[in-house]
Point group: C2
Chain length 212, copies 2
DNA sequence: ACAATATTAGACCAATCGTCTAATAAATTA
DNA sequence: TAATTTATTAGACGATTGGTCTAATATTGT
């Protein structure tokens, strides 16, 4: 039966420089990219491994499973994106409401840059995995809560600056922002243009400043 | 090498009653259910086949591929849902704006009934396949355009009934509705409650009637 | 009775996931 | 410096599942 000569074990290749030590980071970075574009189920490990140039053994050294990998990718992306959000929303050189508009503008560029193929990792994973991966679902929800808190802060600043009504519910408006934003991204992926984003943006901001 | 005795072909089992002739329909119905809940990539054919009680050969008799199947499922769902939409939006026993609210209420029940596991087939598939399946992408976009036209008609009726401002752009508002609606469903799947839907609904309708 | 068609059973092959062994570079200790 | 320990890697492997395809037969039509 066993006619195949077992020829196992190849040994560890030279850890030439510390560049090689960032294997984990590189896997995570590639994960953000590939998971955003292809989704979880369609994305084979082999695809990631090939892109990063790392063998399977390494992957399972750093991550206990594909699910675990996804969780760490989401965590990393949540932080990365929160930092980006802060860069826009805490920019004191702009009026508070303008900061949020700046973020929207930046998002539009991102969508265009990748030809509407990527969208938002958190939205994509949420749509795909909310029903089947309870732990990931909670994590994704937490990321949204975090993001929307940052927007809420920005809206409070806008309120303090008298840009929006003083009896507006900033927390609710921030949640509404993310609901619409994610919906608009989804639609933009389908229509392959920015119209949905622009429509959402104009409706949302004109709603904020009072006029329908 | 080839020690395995080829033993192919089993023959066609009795087509007992015409119940059996609806195989195609039953596959499509199961497809709506299963694709909505599990997504395209995670859903194995075997899963569908088992649920419907049909062998693999039959599947590939009716559909040329899994992709083809998905397209036909989407087409079927688009029509089914358009009919449902009309049932609410053309209900002359209710004021136009109230009809749209009735639809929202119905959607809330649907989400709850399936414990936030399903959401909207078109939104789910769009998120997952827009980037990789150009043909399906166009089809899904067309479904949204169709649905939003129906909502636009309803809003025009509301305008005629003086429920909303006469200089509102009903087409744009209809598109905004679907953007927010799909975003709210996604978020509801994550939070596992109706809060996102209710927030969207209240924001959207209060925006319609003029007050922020 | 015979031919044509619709439908089915399940073999088949490629791909994927996660595990596992063996090897060895680097770090640590003696 | 030499011996030992630890972290990391190469990739074969088994189990499973994906989608396709062929051959067989029930049904229909002539």
């Amino acid at each position: 039966m066993n006619q195949i000569a077992p020829k196992r074990g190849r040994g560890r290749p030279p850890k030439t420089d510390q560049h090689q030590r960032e294997t984990r980071e590189r896997l995570l970075r590639a994960g953000i990219e590939l998971l955003t574009e292809h989704g979880f189920a369609s994305l084979g490990l082999e695809r990631i491994l090939k892109q990063v140039g790392v063998p399977k053994g390494s992957f399972y050294h750093y991550f206990s499973s594909k699910d675990d990998f996804a969780q760490q990718v989401v965590a990393g992306y949540g932080d990365y994106f929160a930092a980006k959000l802060d860069r826009w929303l805490l920019n004191t050189e702009r009026a508070p409401l303008q900061r949020l508009m700046d973020f929207v503008e930046d998002g539009k560029q991102g969508l265009t840059r990748y030809q509407f193929k990527r969208g938002c990792l958190v939205g994509n994973m949420g749509q795909e995995l909310a029903a089947s991966h309870p732990h990931l679902r909670e994590q994704l929800e937490a990321v949204f809560v975090d993001w929307q808190n940052r927007v809420a802060q920005c809206l409070l600043a806008a309120q303090a600056a008298n840009e929006i009504s003083e009896d507006a519910d900033c927390q609710a408006l921030a949640e509404f922002f993310w609901i619409g934003w994610e919906g608009a991204i989804l639609r933009a992926k389908l229509s392959q243009n920015l119209a949905p984003i622009e429509l959402f943006s104009s409706m949302y901001f004109s709603g904020l400043t009072g006029r329908t």
